[in-house]
Symmetry: C2
Subunit: 273 residues, 2 copies
Amino acid sequence: MTSEFDREISLRPDGAGWAGTFGDGWRIGGGINGGLLLAAVALGLRKTIGDPHPDPLAISATYLSPTGPGTFVVRPDVVRRGRVTATAQASLLQVLDTGAEVERIRALATYGDLGSVSTDVRVMSRPPGMPPPEKCVTVADAPADFLEHSSLLQRLDLRLDPACAGWVLGQPAGRGEFRAWLRLPDGREPDPLTLLLAIDALPPVTFDFGLYGWAPTVALTAYLRGRPAPGWLRVRTVSRNLFGGSLEEDGEVWDSTGRLVAQSRQLAFSPRG
Amino acid sequence: MTSEFDREISLRPDGAGWAGTFGDGWRIGGGINGGLLLAAVALGLRKTIGDPHPDPLAISATYLSPTGPGTFVVRPDVVRRGRVTATAQASLLQVLDTGAEVERIRALATYGDLGSVSTDVRVMSRPPGMPPPEKCVTVADAPADFLEHSSLLQRLDLRLDPACAGWVLGQPAGRGEFRAWLRLPDGREPDPLTLLLAIDALPPVTFDFGLYGWAPTVALTAYLRGRPAPGWLRVRTVSRNLFGGSLEEDGEVWDSTGRLVAQSRQLAFSPRG
């Protein structure tokens, strides 16, 4: 049986690219979640690049306009095929009711094989200590208007560390850090594509500063460092620089064995709130 | 009088793009320094995009092949012009002796106006404490074979914090962190373009782990957060994850007033040594 996630980003051949259809279930505010979009782009690139470079090692995306439910196409362009890596770019586009084609995302990526990375560890950042998932704050505890705003949250089993979930009760900690457990509720185990979802699945870290408005992503980069083991992911997002109308948000994802499997950084404009 | 830096990246119109010529003075190993290359690409984009979006807010680059001294062209492509930002991509190419054109770098960037950023500061990372420049380790203290290897170092006034310069004497600290003062020796004051040089101007942080080989950059992203004040820059580079054959290197740059003006992250393959 295909998982909700895989169904949502499934692609069919479309000329020199790929086409798919987003439903209404992965929305955050008015637009489809940026991590899901990145996963769809990455799947299109994987299908184009193929072996021996199946995995995104690094992918940088620029979000040009909000993506809504409906049909989309991914247009890939392979820039270079090397022995160890392949480099490609891709655009995700939608066709408006007027017939005009609008670019939503442009991405630049390096693909390789995460299955062939060595097991050497010189230094690796450790997952944050936090209570077990059953002692964390679930989405069901979030305010109803927040849930309505964000159909995405019903697609994720997301458990926030209570120490950084004060914003749920209107008491943000003001530290600019979120920590959470994450898995897909239908049992779909993590892989490189769901890691791209994971890095953009937590609430904006600006919530921890009491800024609840929309924080539009200017640019987002993810590095994948390994294929995740089955089970819960742990995700931490941090901002150390919120000034001058913008902020960076750094994300880290560890698998159930405690291995760092993904890193991300995005630049966002700060909400006005 | 034009500075060494501005002369090196100066561009002349070339069809729909820009052309320039790199000398031999900004080499690190066999190739031109990645930060200088990024500055040349960013200048080409600035000249193309123009007002009211003069500054790169975010730029991500993929390094496809090493750039040598000689003629290069920058081919820009403006993707979207908005009110607050413009998005563009660019390629830097060189023509081989065989006449074949080879792409060296592909970059994706968001431009805006750093002169219009607000002065609000909610949180900002502080510059690291370190001895004044005159008590730091200058490039003149580095081993002669290292200097020969890297003509770039003669273009920079770079002063390493002695606490993280042990590698110069073959005693790397093993912490994966470098801190340094940086300025251009001919008095050229910092601006957004030289910040792109600054984020890639320090020795690879792998040296701090005793790995002295080449650490090829897979992808590099820089965020510019403000226009720097005149004077010394402080630069810190850190890697917290060196495993599986790769590492991230995070950079931060503060201006002489202590304001964070740039952030960078790169993914590199680790040296074999």
